[in-house]
Subunit: 335 residues, 2 copies
């Protein structure tokens, strides 16, 4: 059975020192301080220790073989977005990362598909890079749940949605720059509480801002099973109903009408949570995802779905059909 | 059948102008600009329009009669917490509000139970007021999901938990001062996204900080069915498992071990969401709640539970037994 993991992260083994080059900022580079491991250095501070499965294509393919998963959709690690940088500098970082992923996809066309990254805070540069991304053979882009705290309904992003739609590029929304992180220093709460909220923020912004109506062919996929969105949808829907003067100011249509208008991944870490979501969302909108190779991800690559009592049709939807539809690909692409 | 709504808000009809008295701050007063309605003025700015069911005990009892609900547990509106004020001033506001609720409970003992409010940012004053709250005949306290962005695991709150435990006072945690609100100006997102995250933040802080172990008799109830906690519990539990170096630094016990250690209300606005939670949490930990009289609340006071196919035992748990256990009361208290 074809399996496509549409939520995985990769980074080039060698990254130029953009901080030295540009003379400012928290750009990330890798310090390969021992074999098979590297320190991500953000600005001049240690950010995270990573292993070679963050950059080595063959090791990744081997690890995925254990879970009978042939295809990885790779995107950069969100800390690389660099939306805080000057747009021209963010573009240069983005081009470097996009070229790296394009080369990987060209080298392993049966195993890798790629998502690019953009200077989201400059829509002119972003649209130019989208055209290049299309030309490079990538399948779409990964963007943050907010862009320097601008929400995704903002009109400044409309040219980007329009270009994604006309170029046929898919969009994956990943939480980052988590709300409240400065006040939650302990217990990894920005990752455990802030990230799910970020994803709900992104979904709500795009729904209430009317983005799905304005760009009917835009294909968007939200990380971590939509974050906290589905677990709090009753409240969100009721809020739209009871205070349209606050919520329905740009779009009269209720949130429940959008449930099959976007995709999510299956990263719930819990079969009952996945089943709860499948009670709201069609299974061909729920994609296999893992957040590989990071520990907070599902490093058994959807094994809990494979071993579950979900029916075969549902499993096939999750393992490949949902991602194929999101990416606008046919299954025979990989034959 | 006895029904106790444990999540309702009330405010005195007349509030002193504490801003004039103290000479600073966003203290709230009411501008009764027309019959049966008032403007809440926060500092010098309009905050919210409210109706007389925010302050009139008999109108509230009449409205509740439509939903066959005899008892309301009242607490102040979170905007009244005033934790940002000088502790002595916050204490004065708290005492005023607590006296008002105590008088109400004394006047209508079969219809009202009360929760007090505290200067949470000064544990000495807070503990003194807790003793007074006990003496006044209130059942417990309502507190915010954070206190000036201090999380509820902080040691500064330990004397308060200890006093609640020894005095036998219940604790209700309500979201407020929502993370990220300054960056989500549209679509009521602080209420629809930020509030659920706040409640998960509070639950996670108390679990990971070991509060439930340190104060085994402390009885805590989290608003809005635990906010985003239950919908993202797979991620939270996995985070504790995969990065104990970040999450389990103060408490080795996994989040799932605490599920029946606290109460929540049933405000999901969705029967399937409630059933999903009831798959994790015993029904005697899920209390009837409404957030009355505010529109984002369930103004049919749990009618969706009454009309559901949940079995009678579950309904009785939700309608009264869970709240009785949380409040440490017997059903015959109301006879």
């Amino acid at each position: 059975m074809l399996k496509i993991d549409m939520h995985t992260h990769i980074i080039p083994k060698q990254i130029p020192n953009f901080r030295d080059k540009f003379g400012y900022g928290d750009f990330v580079y890798l310090d390969h301080h021992k074999p098979g491991q590297a320190r991500m250095i953000k600005g001049q501070q240690f950010f995270r220790e990573i292993g070679q499965n963050c950059w080595d294509p063959q090791i990744r393919i081997d690890e995925y073989a254990k879970y009978h998963t042939q295809v990885q959709v790779v995107s950069t690690i969100p800390v690389m977005f660099s939306y805080w940088a000057q747009p021209a500098h963010c573009l240069e970082v983005s081009r470097f990362l996009n070229d790296h992923i394009a080369n990987l996809v060209a080298s392993y066309p049966k195993n890798y598909l790629g998502l690019g990254t953009l200077p989201m805070h400059d829509s002119l540069l972003a649209v130019k890079e989208l055209e290049r991304i299309k030309h490079l053979g990538l399948s779409g882009i990964q963007i943050g749940s907010n862009v320097n705290n601008q929400n995704l309904h903002e009109t400044s992003f409309w040219p980007i949605w329009e270009a994604c739609e006309s170029l046929g590029l898919a969009v994956m929304v990943h939480p980052w720059e988590m709300m409240g992180q400065e006040h939650m220093p302990k217990y990894w709460l920005p990752w455990l509480v802030g990230m799910p909220a970020e994803t709900s923020r992104a979904i709500c912004s795009m729904i209430f801002g009317g983005v799905f109506d304005r760009y009917p062919k835009l294909r968007v996929n939200f990380s971590h099973a939509g974050g906290s969105f589905f677990g709090t949808l009753g409240r969100i829907h009721h809020g739209h109903h009871c205070r349209p003067d606050l919520v329905a100011v740009d779009n009269p249509t209720a949130p429940l009408e959008y449930l099959n208008r976007f995709w999510i991944d299956c990263i719930t870490h819990d079969l009952n949570a996945l089943k709860y979501i499948l009670g709201m969302l069609a299974s061909d909108k729920v994609c296999l995802g893992s957040d590989y190779p990071f520990p907070l991800g599902d490093l058994e690559i959807g094994d809990f779905v494979a071993k579950s009592d979900l029916d075969d049709k549902t499993k096939q939807d999750i393992f490949s059909r949902a991602a194929l539809a999101w990416l606008h690909l046919e299954a025979n692409y990989f034959e």
